[in-house]
């Protein structure tokens, strides 16, 4: 591990809350997403005790149904469960991972709630197929691109095959929601006759998910998405988006030329204290992507 990565891990460790978790900022309340990624950093460094405390926090967030919400007090499971699945799987909490996997595969969106008339109206006016099941942010609401992508990435890393029905459907949703001129936004390619703009973060997540599911880069949507990211990289890009972008680019051999520059750019954002924007989540994400941590390593790497 490079000294800079080690410094990032130190940053993470120093900001672990007494309850074992992490928040989105130092001293902030523990939540599942920053905890899930934070403990993966300590696990990657072999810090068993600290990672174990993080794992205990996550286990405390799991409901009898297997669901994981945003924190132990959450009444229901929701989108942050993706990060818990990555951790349960990586740290060998197999029973918790199995129960959470089952819950995620049954995590209901709104696709079955729409009437035929509503589906038709959405298809006509907003040009997407709302009957395709994906994953929502919160239970029984509309499925969107980003939570669908996050869950696909986590399920694939946890060993669920891309042929699994929900993953296939999630891929269909992502492809259906692409912005015609390239890339993805939160999940509305159109509003009436207006094409809505793609965003770099949504595009990076969508591509990382497509890569995780083995969608070939020859698919037009993938190529257009990579070109959108390349264009985005010419301008201002946020820390988290840069990290997700790096993961997406690593997922497709055809984008390999963009990887070194993107990695250098992300690494350059590290502050003297070892962190990225002082945010444990963003620091952990950057660490995991820059260090090619196995839990986030794109599947295509193994075949190169």
């Amino acid at each position: 591990m490079s000294p800079r990565l080690s410094q990032a891990a130190d940053f993470i460790k120093a900001r672990q809350n007494p309850d074992g978790g992490w928040g989105y900022g130092p001293g902030r309340a523990s939540l599942v997403e920053p905890t899930g990624l934070g403990l993966l950093v300590l696990h990657a460094r072999g810090d068993v005790a600290a990672a174990g405390r993080g794992l205990a926090f996550l286990k405390g967030c799991q409901k009898p149904s297997g669901a994981v919400g945003i924190n132990p007090r959450a009444a229901e499971g929701s989108w942050m469960a993706y990060a818990a699945l990555l951790s349960f799987h990586a740290l060998g909490a197999s029973e918790e991972a199995r129960r959470l996997k089952d819950w995620i595969l049954g995590f209901e969106d709104a696709s079955s709630r729409f009437t035929k008339e509503e589906l038709s109206a959405i298809a006509t006016r907003f040009r997407y197929d709302a009957s395709i099941p994906g994953w929502p942010w919160t239970p029984r609401t509309t499925a969107w691109v980003e939570p669908t992508a996050l869950f696909i990435i986590a399920l694939r890393r946890a060993g669920v095959p891309p042929t699994e029905k929900r993953i296939k459907s999630g891929i269909d949703l992502i492809l259906d929601r692409r912005v015609p001129s390239g890339g993805w936004n939160f999940g509305n390619p159109y509003s009436k006759s207006y094409e809505l703009e793609a965003s770099a973060m949504s595009t990076a997540l969508a591509l990382a998910a497509l890569g995780a599911a083995g969608v070939p880069e020859g698919r037009p949507a993938v190529g257009a998405g990579i070109r959108f990211l390349e264009k985005s990289l010419a301008g201002d890009v946020s820390t988290a988006t840069l990290a997700w972008t790096l993961l997406a680019l690593k997922s497709f051999p055809g984008a390999a030329a963009l990887v070194p520059g993107t990695a250098d750019r992300l690494a350059a954002l590290q502050a003297r204290d070892g962190g990225f924007r002082g945010n444990p989540f963003e620091t952990a994400l950057a660490f995991l992507v820059l260090s090619d941590a196995p839990i986030l390593r794109p599947a295509s790497w193994g075949t190169r």
């Binding site: 959405i122 609401t141 969107w144 980003e146 973060m201 988290a240 924007r277």
Partner: protein, 345 residues
């Protein structure tokens, strides 16, 4: 009325039913938790007549803005901000280089300077974006990050703030029986909503009350605050505004957005600021400036019905310009054409 964020459609008939029988039809006289009370005229201690300032503001020049804010502040009923922590909540559903989607940072900066002059102890600029959750990028692109640094104010992403559960003051509330409030909002002593004057493809118009959607954290309610869409826009807007008091509103009508707002519309100059302590009265007045009958806007009618204030012209004392005189009819999507107010009303 359709909401593609949820797919749900609320018919006029259903809306009428909701007004008549829903949980929101009567707010309790019981006190709210955390000192937050429904903003009915009676409970808030306001006189029955709201005071709204409608101030000309032809451009975003710093002196023009400063003078307009001073004038609006003076001629309305502003909150006493001395020694208090004030949260300024702009509207930043997204940011575009060529469309005026977000509240202009020059107005936000002028307001921050004004609040400092008025003795505010701490000023926080806070937003929870709804479409694009990349707030680091949006705060930079919008100009808010630069102004926050320049003026030494804290910039907070409400989507990921620590949360505090707050009971909705209406025990018969729908799905927002308990609202997860960002700590920044919960601990605010004064909340100032600073929306952009815009049309809205799902709500008709978006002004101060709709702007409060952005205080709810995306990490709890999803993006684009999707849980709220499934609950129904009018209900959600009223439940949020009935639970969290907006102490003052400043509508950026210098340049607004008409047509297919709140993102894909086009710029429309109205050349005004609309300011006041009652969000419903401010919104009703701003709607009139836009050539819209506020009584025909679902959530404003519902807010009036449940006594979050009054939208009736006779209940609102407008200082400064006459809304009819400065009226500029904002272009409306065809399905909202029915919102257009007849001339002379």
């Amino acid at each position: 009325m359709g909401d593609p964020m949820s797919g749900k459609r609320i018919s006029r008939r259903e809306f009428g039913r909701l007004l008549g029988t829903s949980a929101l039809a009567a707010w309790p006289a019981a006190a709210a938790l955390a000192g937050r009370a429904p903003q009915s005229v009676e409970r808030s201690g306001l006189s029955p007549r709201s005071q709204v300032a409608l101030v000309p503001c032809p451009d975003y020049g710093p002196e023009t803005l400063a003078a307009a804010i001073r004038e609006g502040w003076r001629s309305s009923r502003p909150p006493d901000v001395r020694g208090k922590r004030v949260v300024v909540k702009p509207n930043m559903v997204d940011v575009s280089a060529d469309r005026p989607i977000h509240t202009d940072p020059r107005l936000v900066e002028a307001l921050i300077l004004h609040l400092g002059d008025q003795g505010a102890r701490e000023i926080v600029l806070a937003e929870g974006t709804s479409h694009n959750r990349d707030s680091e990028w949006l705060f930079r692109r919008s100009g808010y990050e630069t102004l926050a640094k320049r003026r030494g104010v804290r910039l907070v992403d409400l989507n990921y703030d620590d949360i505090t559960p707050v009971q909705c003051v209406n025990p018969r509330a729908t799905l927002l029986k308990e609202i997860s409030l960002p700590r920044t909002i919960h601990e605010a002593e004064v909340i100032i909503s600073v929306p952009k004057m815009k049309t809205h493809k799902l709500a008709g118009i978006t002004l101060s009350m709709k702007n409060m959607f952005g205080i709810l954290p995306g990490m709890v309610y999803g993006w684009p605050k999707n849980t709220l869409h499934w609950n129904g826009l009018p209900l959600s807007i009223c439940e949020i505004n009935g639970t969290v008091k907006t102490h003052y509103s400043v509508v950026d009508g210098v340049v607004g957005m008409e047509g297919h707002g709140p993102i894909m519309g086009t710029a429309r100059k109205a050349g005004v600021l609309v300011m006041g302590d009652n969000a419903l009265a401010v919104d009703a007045t701003a709607a009139r400036v836009m050539g819209i009958d506020p009584a025909l806007v679902d959530y404003l009618a519902m807010a009036h019905k449940i006594r979050l204030g009054s939208l009736r012209r006779e209940d609102i004392a407008v200082a400064g310009e006459n809304p009819e005189r400065v009226r500029i009819d904002f272009a409306l999507d065809p399905e909202y054409a029915l919102l257009r107010a007849p001339k002379g009303r």
